[in-house]
């Protein structure tokens, strides 16, 4: 029975509960056992055994268990954003999107590991140690939502929440062979998400398929009085039904597939094969231009660290988490607490951001990056006049080996080459598995204009059905 239960998508499990065919307590216990025995280090905390009354059966999500990235505040439950500096922190409140999912009937299974403060593309920058890829445990799961992606792909939880600042949902989804949606900026409240870069951070679902993605997302959206940058989503999110791409115009941006992106041949082959499938489904595929997209990474690695250096100023040993005594004065307490609490990548980005914002460099770096951001957003607007979606490989490579890039920050940052432009423009993008390259999953990214999620999910759904990817690492992920 358990093997059959594990094969159910979250939407199917919710439907089975509502039909009276499945006890959510049984499902929860099954996943709880698997999460507690986790060999992937995907979880930082697993929920204790639940009582029979803890499940909201008559709700849209019907008590189906949910993994939540560590950086979402969860009342009374450990929340550290993968950092030593928040050791022992149990927040006094719950993040809005998590609260909304609880209200819709989701049950918390556990908190998932991540790169510290969501800074990373490999999940190696984590106070709780690296997370392992379920397809090959010698490889990284991607980051920063690597714990969520590994847990979903490894069958440790039916679905999970992540956050994406420059690719942190899409890239781990690609590396782990699952679906990851970065929504339009502002569609989900950021209240209670421990901030990395406030103008870019967005919560989103990591799921086994596109239908689950739409279902989870439909219960996350909405304006929130506690987040003044949140917006009312202009339409209801519907479950996808499309079976073809007739009349859909797909643009392929040459700038993101060129030499600087360094797309691996196996990734390129899977990408081309998916374009061919899109044509067979009725889409037209044409080249399109995003002239400033190759500069997105540079703009991002100024803007995101600049915002982070301000956001992380709050970790000073005063209100929560770690405190290391200094020489009896306040400033040395701050400086030593931060020295002991932050890992090397977080220190690097704080330094980079502080430098970019410091007197004499502000306009040369931060001001320039903000102007490039305008040009990138304009490029997308121009391109979307002629195409419905823009597609790229999600990441230039498949999952790399643990340690392969940890000594070279620039090489690590290049992972975000194809995902960062959409983040800077604030537009939605989804990564779906398009097949395997040398036994490892490849991600295919579709991006659309702001608030086009329904159309995006429909297109992804049609492609997903045509690709027929089997997301189970245990079965080797062979496409049918």
């Amino acid at each position: 029975m358990s093997a059959v239960l594990l094969d159910l998508t979250a939407a199917a499990a919710a439907a089975a509960v509502k039909a009276g065919e499945l006890d959510p307590a049984e499902l929860h216990e099954l996943y709880r056992g698997r999460a507690a025995a986790d060999q992937l280090n995907a979880f930082s905390w697993v929920a204790p055994e639940a009582g029979a009354d803890d499940f909201k059966r008559d709700t849209p999500l019907a008590g189906v268990p949910l993994g939540v990235k560590d950086l979402f505040c969860t009342e009374g439950v450990p929340t550290q954003s993968g950092s030593k500096i928040l050791e022992g922190y149990r927040p006094p409140y719950t993040a809005t999107v998590v609260e909304k999912l609880f209200d819709a009937g989701a049950t918390l299974l556990g908190k998932t590991n991540q790169d510290e403060f969501a800074m990373g593309s490999s999940n190696e920058n984590c106070a709780f140690g690296p997370v392992f890829n379920p397809w090959d445990p010698t490889r990284v799961p991607g980051g920063s939502s690597g714990g969520s992606a590994a847990a979903v792909a490894g069958g440790l939880v039916p679905w999970a929440l992540g956050t994406d600042t420059g690719g942190s949902i899409r890239q781990p989804a690609a590396f782990c062979g699952i679906v990851g949606l970065k929504p339009t900026y502002g569609s989900c409240s950021r209240y209670g998400m421990i901030a990395f870069a406030s103008s870019l951070d967005q919560a989103g679902p990591l799921t086994r398929d596109v239908t689950d993605s739409a279902l989870l997302f439909s219960h996350m959206v909405g304006q929130d009085a506690n987040d003044s940058t949140s917006l009312a989503f202009p339409e209801e999110i519907r479950l996808p039904t499309a079976h073809d791409l007739k009349g859909i115009r797909i643009g392929v941006p040459e700038e993101l597939l060129g030499a600087e992106g360094g797309i691996d041949p196996g990734v390129r082959a899977s990408f081309e094969a998916t374009l061919e499938l899109a044509r067979k489904l009725g889409a037209t595929v044409t080249p399109c231009q995003l002239p400033h997209a190759p500069h997105a990474l540079s703009a991002y690695y100024i803007i995101a660290p600049a915002e982070a250096s301000a956001n992380l100023a709050r970790f000073d040993g005063v209100r929560y988490g770690l405190r290391v005594d200094g020489d009896g004065d306040l400033t040395s307490m701050y400086s030593r607490t931060r020295a002991a609490g932050f890992g090397p990548e977080v220190k690097r980005r704080i330094m980079l951001g502080t430098y970019a914002l410091s007197s004499g460099y502000y306009d040369a770096y931060y001001g320039t990056a903000q102007r490039v951001r305008t040009k990138i957003a304009d490029d997308f607007k121009t391109a979307f006049a002629d195409v419905d979606f823009i597609v790229t490989p999600t990441a230039p490579s498949t999952a790399f080996e643990l340690g392969a890039k940890s000594a070279d920050p620039l090489a690590m940052y290049l992972n975000d080459f194809c995902t960062v432009p959409m983040s800077l423009a604030g537009i939605p993008a989804i990564s779906i598995p398009s097949g395997l390259s040398e036994g490892l999953p490849v991600g295919f990214q579709l991006a659309g204009p702001a608030f086009s999620e329904n159309r995006l999910l429909n297109a992804a759904f049609a492609l997903e059905s045509a690709i027929g990817f089997d997301g189970s690492p245990a079965r080797g992920g062979v496409a049918k």
């Binding site: 922190y89 006094p92 103008s199 917006l231 540079s298 100024i302 020295a339 704080i350 430098y355 102007r371």
Partner: protein, 97 residues
């Protein structure tokens, strides 16, 4: 290459105590990253407005209605040094700059 005194200055601004070895490494790594980023400074951005935020909202304000805030004991529960009246810290006097 970033000078050591620049690294010292930025670390002080960021309230980050770095060892000598960390500072040496930081100077090299930040220089490499800034060298890569440098390319965008060659772009012609004359007259382009900066984007600080992609959402088209100006001054979103909630209704001016009082609501409950966190009880003091709850807000202080995670503090390393809670006192009766707030968050305890060492004297700032010694570190005045």
């Amino acid at each position: 290459m970033l000078e050591r005194k620049t690294v010292d200055h930025v670390a002080r601004l960021a309230r980050l105590e770095l060892s000598d070895a960390e500072k040496d490494k930081m100077a090299v790594e930040l220089s490499q990253i800034l060298g890569h980023i440098e390319a965008i400074r060659q772009l012609d951005l004359e007259g382009v407005e900066p984007t600080s935020h992609v959402v088209d909202i100006v001054n979103a304000l909630r209704a001016d209605v009082p609501h409950a805030s966190l009880p003091r004991a709850v807000a202080l529960a995670s503090a390393p040094d809670p006192t009766d009246s707030g968050f305890g810290v060492p004297s700032p006097g010694a570190s005045a700059e």
